[in-house]
């Protein structure tokens, strides 16, 4: 009897603990982004609005599965992802809802919005070439890189979502057959078996292992500002430059991927969720993304940081030419892209094995 009583008391106290969390103004965010700069922006949002931002970071597929399992009592209000393919996936899995917001309509250009207003792009990153500064990269495109620098190209593994999205975008731009040929050509011109992360690709170029690396513009910004002299990343950008491919007149433009956010279906704090996404699209906040996290703003009235601008100036680009695709297709073509990369032995190029 005593034990039963003890059990009941214990159960009640746990229950009470869970129940006594008072209701306050808050917004719950499931995000794949894990940057200090994001945390600083959330703090600024809280300061301005009094709305607390609660964060869980994880990989996108895990977050999407969680939201699906939570059903009509979702634990999060906002889904924030660093890849457009995952935003499309979230939409297809039915976890997002349509948002009508004049502010978002104005701040986010329609090409970075979902057609049904279920997600909104907030920052952009380019998939660029990092090159050995001893060579002249002028006129470099995704298509001609293998002929300009045969056997001198490196990239990280095929499980990297940005590589997958690059290939997916080429499937859209060039068609599946041409994209397959492109991947095969690239793989047979790889200077080493894909290894390391984005920043390591730059290090490999600096060490003379290759002339060209495929990498993310955001990581180049981190390399430029690396202040840790004990790091292998330090000083790499002295000898490694950044080049935005496909900028010529009849060329297709550089591959841009976005980070974006949407409001989760049945969100308990829908209004706060919209407020947060609107806040993140605001001009000054967009400029902050660009200055502290080396990303391109989507809001056209926001200026990109001087560092990012200097990259364009160095290449004599006045207006960055981007692929003209609807970013939802990155999700649609993802499986095709992964299959093309698998068939081409991206992670184990045949000319390099054994």
């Amino acid at each position: 009897m005593k034990k039963l009583l003890m059990f009941v008391v214990l159960a009640l106290s746990i229950f009470g603990l869970a129940a006594c969390q008072e209701s306050k103004q808050e917004v719950n965010v499931y995000t794949t982004r894990h940057y200090d700069s994001d945390d600083a922006l959330y703090a600024q949002f809280t300061e301005e609005t009094g709305i607390t931002v609660n964060i869980i970071n994880d990989k996108a597929p895990a977050l999407i599965e969680k939201v699906k399992a939570e059903g009509d009592v979702p634990q999060a209000d906002v889904f924030f992802s660093a890849d457009a393919g995952y935003l499309a996936l979230a939409k297809n899995e039915g976890i997002l809802q349509t948002v009508s917001s004049e502010i978002l309509a104005e701040n986010v250009p329609s090409k970075y919005q979902d057609v049904d207003d279920m997600w909104f792009g907030l920052t952009k990153r380019a998939r660029v070439f990092l090159y050995d500064k001893s060579i002249d990269p002028t006129g470099l495109t995704y298509e001609n890189v293998t002929t300009m620098f045969p056997g001198e190209i490196i990239a990280r593994s095929s499980s990297n979502i940005y590589n997958q999205s690059l290939v997916a975008s080429l499937v859209e731009v060039l068609g599946e057959d041409a994209a397959t040929i492109w991947v095969n050509e690239l793989v047979s011109n790889m200077a080493r078996v894909p290894e390391g992360n984005d920043r390591d690709q730059a290090v490999a170029v600096a060490n003379g292992d290759a002339k060209i690396a495929i990498a993310n513009s955001y990581y180049y910004g981190k390399l430029v500002n690396e202040s840790d002299e004990s790091s292998s990343y330090y000083g790499v950008t002295d000898t490694v430059g950044i080049y935005f491919p496909n900028q010529g007149e009849d060329e297709t433009g550089v591959h841009m991927n976005i980070s974006g956010a949407g409001v989760i279906k049945n969100a308990q704090n829908k209004d706060n969720a919209i407020k947060l996404i609107e806040f993140l699209s605001r001009t000054d906040v967009q400029e902050s993304f660009s200055a502290t996290n080396y990303e391109f703003p989507v809001n056209e009235s926001a200026n990109m940081s001087t560092l990012l601008q200097s990259w364009l100036d160095d290449q004599n680009v006045t207006e960055l030419k981007e692929q003209t695709i609807n970013l939802s297709v990155l999700g649609e073509h993802n499986e095709t892209a992964v299959i093309i990369m698998t068939n081409a032995s991206w992670d184990n190029p045949s000319h390099l094995s054994n």
Binding site: A18, I56, G71, Q75, S159, E195, S230, E335
Partner: protein
């Protein structure tokens, strides 16, 4: 009072409940995987089957497992042998330094080594070679051998005195003593502990991806993170599990063939030999080279990184995240050891198939890749939570009981790490004199009070060893904490993961170092404090 209460408790009921509940619990996420794995194969999976990829993946996984298994057991066991049978200088410090590499998560080690190679390129020439599978074998070996060391050391210390004395009397040489007696007798312990190193190797994908080695675990990762192809991921996770079962099966074989029980409970202490000059050169050369590679270099590199990135330190909220880390680990350790003691007690009373089934099921948890385990668990508990929420929200429940608190985290830890406690305690039990237990029962104690009054004091050293391994493993566990934590909950390992994932390994060095320091303190406290 407690023992009185225990004497009256119907221990059979407690044991039956535990014996059913724990395996059921551990099986939960596995069931999820199996169900998913039998889903319709995706186009991607079919392509993988057609291509060479699957075959190559299996081959390189085998190569990895064989090499890592061989090297971890050689290094771990030799260290245990040296530290047990020879008088070595600075014994206490060396003991800690030998264990410490285990406190560094393998992928943090891999990233950190990129910086070390940058300073010491000759190491890269030696270890980043095809033989070491582009450096991956080197990393797994160097940072996982302490599993074998810890288990072998506590085994050697206790169990071999009689055999060794007999062998001395018979005038056997040192070599023949080692190869004919010590090594064969220790084989089950070596293989058992090596399994943990292999499980960790098999379920890790970060290091192999970093070094560009195509193993099966990379396909789990690839399928899962491109478009969330859970079916393909589950199929590959299942293949890995099959390999792990194969390994468990081998271990069982090695264990059942021969069993040497020691008659006494209290052993005479081993008389340590003073090494001659040649032995000294070999012993110190061997110990120092491994310690320098596994502990000194990475720790110095991390210290350097902390100094160079000192401006990040205030951002890290280090006190809070350390407190969070200690909170979840200490609760989990107490829970796991308590239940493992109960369940091992049940196991030793069981015979035949039931015994094998119980002990196999209970070690599954460690074999399931964390990523899959975490998600499987979440999917189960969110259902329970929604049910409770619907039931109790009219009377004021306004959040999820398990999934929005640290409860689910502790359950995740339990499922993942229960096997470590269980298998270590089982092997400790097997070495114990069972006549003692019978005596206790004849004297009127029931099994539960025997457990507390007889078994626990005898098993004290093993329990301490288990606590050390659990603590280290939990401190560095990343995926489970990352995927199951409630909102805004940060621990040392989530911060390591966050910065490492953002390609800022030098900032991740600070929380990594705290993890190492905590581990070192615990080892000192438990290993040294306990002797007095």
């Amino acid at each position: 009072m407690l023992t009185n209460l225990l004497r009256k408790t119907n221990d059979r009921l407690v044991f039956i409940i535990m014996g059913l509940l724990v395996p059921l619990f551990v099986l939960l996420p596995l069931v999820q995987i199996v169900i998913k794995a039998f889903g319709d194969p995706s186009r991607y999976y079919l392509i993988l089957l057609e291509s060479q990829a699957l075959f190559d993946g299996v081959i390189s996984t085998f190569e990895l497992v064989i090499k890592v298994g061989l090297f971890t057991s050689t290094i771990g066991f030799l260290f245990a042998y040296i530290m047990t049978f020879y008088q070595v200088r600075w014994q206490k410090v060396l003991n800690i330094l030998i264990i410490l590499p285990l406190a560094i998560p393998v992928y943090v080690a891999a990233y950190t080594y990129t910086n070390i190679y940058y300073y010491l390129p000759f190491l890269e020439t030696v270890f980043k070679t095809p033989f070491f599978m582009n450096g991956s074998v080197f990393i797994y070996t160097l940072f996982l051998y302490p599993y074998v060391y810890l288990a072998s050391k506590s085994y050697l210390k206790k169990n071999l005195t009689d055999y060794i004395e007999a062998s001395h009397t018979l005038g056997r040489s040192k070599w023949s003593l080692f190869f004919k007696i010590i090594l064969p007798l220790s084989r089950p312990v070596i293989i058992g502990s090596m399994l943990f190193a292999l499980f960790e190797t098999l379920s890790d994908f970060a290091v192999v991806e970093y070094y560009g080695v195509l193993t099966l675990s990379r396909y789990v990762n690839l399928a899962w993170f491109s478009q969330g192809d859970l079916v393909t991921a589950s199929k590959f996770a299942l293949y890995i599990l099959v390999m792990m079962f194969f390994l468990i099966f081998i271990e069982r074989l090695s264990r059942t063939k021969k069993r040497y029980a020691s008659a006494e409970v209290i052993h005479r202490p081993i008389v340590k030999e003073i090494p001659n000059i040649y032995e000294k050169i070999i012993i110190y050369g061997f110990i120092f080279s491994i310690i320098i590679l596994g502990a000194v270099l990475p720790i110095v590199q991390m210290l350097l990184s902390v100094i160079m990135n000192y401006h990040y330190i205030p951002r890290l909220d280090i006190l809070l995240i350390t407190f969070n880390t200690l909170k979840i680990t200490s609760i989990s350790i107490v829970l796991i050891i308590t239940i493992a003691l109960l369940l091992t007690t049940i196991t030793i009373y069981l015979k035949g198939v039931k015994r094998h089934l119980l002990s196999t099921i209970s070690v599954i948890g460690y074999a399931i890749p964390s990523m899959v385990l975490a998600l499987g668990l979440y999917l189960v508990f969110i259902k329970i939570d929604i049910f409770l929420y619907r039931l109790f929200s009219p009377i004021g429940l306004n959040s999820m009981l398990f999934t929005s608190s640290i409860l689910i985290l502790i359950i995740g830890f339990f499922i993942k790490f229960f096997s470590i406690a269980y298998s270590n305690l089982i092997s400790a039990y097997n070495r114990m004199d069972h006549a003692l237990l019978e005596t206790s029962e004849i004297l009127g104690e029931n099994k539960l009070s025997t457990l507390i009054r007889v078994n626990i004091p005898i098993l004290k050293r093993s329990i301490i060893a288990v606590a050390i391994i659990l603590f280290i493993d939990m401190l560095k566990e990343l995926t489970i904490v990352y995927s199951l934590r409630p909102f805004n909950f940060k621990t040392l390992s989530t911060e390591v993961y966050r910065y490492a994932g953002n390609e800022m390994i030098n900032v991740a060095a600070f929380p990594s170092l705290i993890i190492i320091i905590l581990c070192a303190l615990l080892i000192i406290y438990l290993e040294e404090g306990n002797k007095k």
